[in-house]
Symmetry: C2
Subunit: 531 residues, 2 copies
Amino acid sequence: MRGADLLMRSIAQSGVETCFANPGTSEMHLVAALDAAPGVRPVLTLHEGVASGAADGWARVTARPASTLLHLGPGLSNALSNLHNARRAASPVVNIVGDHASYHLANDPPLASDISALAGVVSSWVGTVPDAPSMARGGSEAVVAAMGPPGAISTLIVPADAAWGEVGGTEGEGALAGERERIVTANQGAASRRGAPVAPRRVEGAAEALASGEPAVILVGGRAMHDAAVENASRIAAATGARLCCTPFTARAHRGAGSVAVERLPYFPEMVVQMLAGVRHLILVDAPPPVAFFAYPGLPGALVPAGCAVHTLAEGGDDVEGALEALAQACSAAGREPVRVPRAIPPVASGALTAAALAQTVAAVLPEGAIVCDEAITNRFTCMAATAGALPHDWFCLTGGSLGAGMPMALGASLAAPGRRVVNLQADGSAMYTPQALWSFAREGVDVTTVILANHRYRILDVELHRLQLTGAERGRGLTNLSRPLLDFVQLANGLGVPASRVTTTEGLAAAMRESFATPGPRLIEAEMVE
Amino acid sequence: MRGADLLMRSIAQSGVETCFANPGTSEMHLVAALDAAPGVRPVLTLHEGVASGAADGWARVTARPASTLLHLGPGLSNALSNLHNARRAASPVVNIVGDHASYHLANDPPLASDISALAGVVSSWVGTVPDAPSMARGGSEAVVAAMGPPGAISTLIVPADAAWGEVGGTEGEGALAGERERIVTANQGAASRRGAPVAPRRVEGAAEALASGEPAVILVGGRAMHDAAVENASRIAAATGARLCCTPFTARAHRGAGSVAVERLPYFPEMVVQMLAGVRHLILVDAPPPVAFFAYPGLPGALVPAGCAVHTLAEGGDDVEGALEALAQACSAAGREPVRVPRAIPPVASGALTAAALAQTVAAVLPEGAIVCDEAITNRFTCMAATAGALPHDWFCLTGGSLGAGMPMALGASLAAPGRRVVNLQADGSAMYTPQALWSFAREGVDVTTVILANHRYRILDVELHRLQLTGAERGRGLTNLSRPLLDFVQLANGLGVPASRVTTTEGLAAAMRESFATPGPRLIEAEMVE
């Protein structure tokens, strides 16, 4: 067998099922090796940003890593933007980057660049495979490092000669068997996967703060948003009178009727300041202290109120679920019912597609079990508010602020969750960073409904120019306008193989969405918005 | 005035005329400052890869830098792929990357990442502006560093508080005046812009080698391909019996009837080996020693033949033109006529669009003074061969091998060369890396004719799988196929505002190209190829 076969079999036995690929010449042996690892399904993308964003979406559904297959430094460069989002989401992702043959790097061929430096910006683990026999180990190390907790980006750099190098059958099988043990150890019991137990004094400190009677906020993020963790957080809040809040951009939140009620911190810093005014204790659970997304002249960047004590109950590497369980016990909250969101499904709105009418319509038709991949940007708040009591669903936010995540994430989420409908709420400006995802939608036949929120401008920038009182800047304002020429998403989607239509009313939107939910495969709906 | 105004005025007075922009919130003051620097024309792109590729195209026409305006680490990440190509082309480019306010970085907001590390991979110069008054200096230093020679990438990181900070009128004007002097000094006389004079022993060494009577090749690249430099190289070759060759992927080559005849090194290493067999002296003029684009098992990576002496006459930072002038004198070649390419314009081919018929048709209709932006990949060789004796034109190659350069480069080249027709020979697979360029074509109304060479697969990868005898890899081969679904470039282009049509014959291609040449503005022609 070749080193490439060894690597593909190694990641397969480590639990990697999918490879989002945009390969080039230096990856040919890796590409061929996919035949040796039938457990790893290759998914072709036309741009590496689609591959990395899809791996993020896959990880948010499964909490396990997909791999990407990328072509040298430029391929990794194209993937970086969505790897940034994946890093902020603590999504496990294993990048496999083909490099030149090791002995060829000294010749500085045209495609050579510093892959390690690029990888280091987004990755918690970067490794270069020295030779073919080491491929088994490289693969499992990369997977284990990505798994965390917290989930992280691993980047494995694979020189072409390590991929094409021959490994004896016995040696190769032996290496794979050894790595199987490594994986079993790493995964041993739920305990190690849950993370490190938190020190009792952390639980005691949080319990004391919550017992003080002073205004307190429990701020959850990451894995504290899931299942038993968020239920215990809700019990604690109910028992102690604290408010339960979450970070503004959560990787995965279970929402809708019957879900645990959590207040979400707003985007603009002045609103966060207002919301947290008077709070004396902030209990952080897999969440960083609140900060402004951007600094503004005269506004604070760090948003913990003056005089507020910060208590970190658990961080990303900790046993987040266990910490909340212990805190619930310490607060005598274990027997309580979590506070749940009542069902509140609005009717389809009527008339033109204002932001509010669009959001209400989405809430009216959202099917049970949907996964919402949200890159709605300025329409995000309205859409989240309207769907709060909709049928139960999961919501994936743009965690890192890097545009172009919505459609790629929808690809990966849909492949990871067959049978569920993915609803991709997609601003028009951000859609144009990785529109190539549409082609992979069609190729894979995924059940993704993309709703383009078409306002024909970078509306967030108009808002920011206004906030900064820069609206006099004529040439600057020209840079926020997307209407010259008008982007026609129906033709764009059709050109990439996805059926599409344009709607201008709420009734049209509801009908198109319902038709899409009843029809397997992808569909794009361009929703022409009015101000 | 604000720091942002100071920066924009500084780059304007340093000679930067264009800013290819995809700004975000952290760049709002920079965007507004475009009003303060009417000499800098903003060009909006929908993706940063379009911006950086356009800056490369601009630089290849003008030998001066354009600027890009990018949003934090993710914006720079998206630009990296085409910056890699620009670096390999020695194109001067000035990146302006907006960052968080300096005091906000410690809060690790979601969009924070290591911008310097990213910039360092492609840039010869990276600087962070410390405060508003330093903006004048930051701008001119970045421009001077980019100008070279050799041309290079500069990346200026601009914290938001340096951009919004106020600078007193007198202080600001004073800083700008001081920087004007710096620019004047840097540009003083053609001499300094030509680069460092080469040591006489280099000229003597090359002259001796050429006088030896042993087989010799003069290998030119970069600026040695231009004007008087390549003419002198040709005179020297004619006088000494050496062969005049150029690197496989030149940034800008003047070609066609009456241009200086230069043999081009081929792509595949075994062909280079064959071409250079028996050569005893290799004279390098702004060209690296020949290397394989990729290494292959059993083939050499470094392609200088055994027993061949390498003589470096001039490198990128040297006075390349002066060195060739001196060598021409040393070889008593100064009075000779350069060897020129005879006019040989074929008729339009007839029938289906085979690779040869397509290339012949392009050669038949190519207008005088055209700029060819070539990302034809597997059709490159055929197209270059067919157009060798066509009407005089300039040819821009994919210098760094990073896909997605063709259309963005065409945008920048066209804006830099109004009145000339840009012909973008574009493979279909590579077109899908930065198709957003089409929208900017329409917005700017540029005279770009994009011919999509549609073979519906990553043909180069099919070739490589074949070369590596990996054609048995069934799942791997699935990753080279782009026909499921079929990419429809006509709808894609229309969706982005560019008129488009599909042709299936040489006659149809010729008619569509001629119609496009006679019509101002962009046009896309999808050429359906047959094997």
